[in-house]
């Protein structure tokens, strides 16, 4: 009986590890396939890029303004007002928005809007055996479907980070104005603390978020099974895994960035 008890404990773990491993393999194969000629995925790349752009620009605008205004904006402002230090809100926005919230909201919206669309699309194609048909017709689905989605999501998520930053900071501006304060001190503390390292760190981080979302969502779509219900399950799992992976990766990336660039941790008055 000992073996069955061990099995019962480790069998689910093995499934998780296997999936994680398969996603790693998919990442590797996608990168190799993207670099190795031929490059037949241009049109699909443009299509996917425009698709994500069209799908995400509005939800992202609403989320970043609302979130930036409310969470780091109003909440922090309420707190800073106690010390009569509302001018420091600008400096806080560098920490909060550029480093954390804007990339986060960006990734969550992209995963929830574009990522799920990818999983549902590929999942439906898997169920209808379209992916098998492609392979039998001599078309490599990784090169023709995964690579363009991978590149498009990386680019889109990276670019949308800047968009999310702008609107996130705009939320802070709103919060300052709502507290009847001038914007001068906000911008002064903002630019005192902002650095180009923060900016490129944020963009690189979100580009990699895009890569994570693309791999997870493509993997879940391409391995969907069990009919229409299976596609639903795949979409659900894709979002959950993508979020967890983003949160974990964010922690590692941001801490590594701060550790390797200690100047970032100095708060400038």
């Amino acid at each position: 009986m000992a073996t069955t008890a061990v099995d019962r404990v480790f069998a689910p773990t093995r499934g998780v590890l296997q999936e994680a491993g398969e996603m790693m393999i998919l990442t590797g194969r996608t990168i190799v396939s993207a670099v190795k000629p031929p490059y037949p995925y241009g049109a699909e790349f443009v299509g996917q890029f425009m698709f994500a752009l069209r799908l995400c620009w509005f939800p992202l605008l609403v989320s970043t303004v609302a979130f930036g205004y409310e969470a780091p904006g109003l909440q922090a402002a309420n707190f800073l007002v106690l010390f009569g230090a509302l001018d420091r809100l600008g400096g806080f926005f560098v920490l909060a928005s550029i480093r954390e919230f804007a990339p986060f909201v960006d990734a969550i919206v992209l995963a929830g809007v574009a990522g799920t669309a990818i999983t549902a699309d590929l999942g439906a194609r898997r169920i209808r055996e379209e992916l098998d048909a492609l392979e039998v017709l001599g078309v490599d689905p990784i090169k023709n479907l995964v690579v363009p989605r991978f590149l498009a999501l990386m680019l889109v998520t990276g670019l949308f980070d800047i968009y999310a930053l702008l609107f996130g900071v705009f939320g802070g501006v709103l919060a300052t104005l709502v507290n009847h304060q001038p914007l001068g001190p906000f911008w002064a503390t903002f630019f005192n603390n902002a650095s180009t390292t923060d900016l490129w760190g944020s963009v690189v981080k979100t580009t990699l978020f895009g890569a994570i979302i693309a791999v997870v969502c493509c993997y879940k779509g391409m391995t969907a099974k069990g009919g229409a219900e299976g596609v639903g399950r795949a979409v659900n799992e894709a979002v959950v895994i993508a979020f967890l992976a983003i949160f974990a990766f964010n922690y590692v990336f941001t801490q590594v960035l701060l550790a390797t660039h200690p100047a970032l941790t100095d708060i400038v008055k």
Partner: protein
């Protein structure tokens, strides 16, 4: 069995290519052991007889094992698909018929054993060679597997655009000829979701044909079709096979066109098959030209081909 190539009486051992079908003959000298974990009793009705077809095998399974989790699907499958014939892979549901097809085109790999296509081992092929090899195949999926974002015309033209340098005009000629052949010439601009199941199958058939493959595989072409449509599709299969045989002979192709149909529909098997492989519990019970199989005295084969409830095959 309406054309001469399949009617010629097979001469045992006239091909010394070492393929199981040609070499084994009807009488088996050594009986293979049952697969691991199974009793001899479960395989009592497997006589493993292979009546000679007189042709070389273009596809061969050699002691192939495949399982999904705890589900053992192929359990030491040894099977041949003879060249230039319409072969049927018959068997009860869930015996791994579709899995067989996926092994032939390299969508699945065996856990052990070998699958050879035109003498070359599929599991050993590097990716590039595998993609090349797949061009020899046409595959009709259960529901057609048409690309839902493309209309019928583009679906059928897809393989030509992907693999040939033909001009759009030449492509149109070929595509329209194939679409007309399967009776869909008038709905070229329709999207797959605007078609009935039978039409999707026929469109999938047209797409599988455009590259004039050496081997055409049909995954349950009769599932979800009424008996009349099934009969018509069977006729269409025979007609196109006959036509391709004539073309192949005229062009002196190295391989004659081979069709393999996976089904559990005995009626279409009787009408269409030149050669029958009966699969049960992941192994071949018996295989041979249709006449020999229909006259077989194996109780399982008799039960299955007659579609009776009495016999070795039960609900479990």
């Amino acid at each position: 069995m309406s054309f001469e190539d399949s009617e010629g009486t097979p001469i045992a051992g006239d091909l010394a290519d070492g393929s199981p079908a040609a070499a084994a003959g009807p009488e088996l000298t050594t009986r293979p052991a049952p697969p691991p974990g199974a009793s001899e009793e479960e395989y009592a009705n497997h006589s493993y007889k292979v009546y000679p077809s007189g042709r070389r095998n273009v596809v061969e399974f050699d002691n192939t094992y495949k399982s999904f989790g705890r589900n053992q699907i192929l359990r030491g499958l040894t099977m041949g698909i003879p060249e230039g014939m319409v072969s049927m892979i018959l068997g009860p549901s869930g015996t791994g018929k579709s899995v067989c097809i996926k092994h032939m085109v390299g969508l699945l790999y065996p856990d052990s054993g070998d699958v050879r296509v035109q003498g070359e081992s599929v599991p050993d092929m590097p990716d590039e060679q595998l993609f090349e090899m797949r061009k020899k195949f046409g595959l009709l999926f259960q529901d057609g597997a048409l690309f839902s974002s493309m209309n019928l015309y583009d679906n059928v033209a897809f393989p030509l655009r992907q693999h040939t340098e033909k001009s759009e005009q030449e492509i149109e000629e070929i595509v329209m000829r194939r679409l007309t052949e399967v009776g869909l010439g008038y709905s070229r601009d329709k999207l797959p979701n605007e078609l009935s199941g039978g039409m999707r199958k026929r469109a999938g058939f047209a797409r599988a044909l455009v590259l004039e493959p050496d081997i055409l595989l049909f995954d349950e072409p009769d599932s979800g079709l009424d008996p009349v449509r099934t009969a018509l599709l069977g006729e269409l299969i025979l007609e196109i096979h006959r036509e391709m045989m004539e073309d192949a002979k005229a062009q002196k192709k190295p391989y004659l066109p081979t069709f393999a149909v996976v089904t559990h529909d005995i009626m279409s098997a009787r009408r269409v098959a030149d050669y029958i492989n009966v699969l049960w519990r992941g192994r071949i019970v018996e295989a041979g030209p249709a006449q020999d199989m229909l006259n077989s005295d194996n109780p399982f084969i008799r039960q299955f081909l007659a579609g009776e409830s009495q016999g070795p095959l039960t609900m479990d």
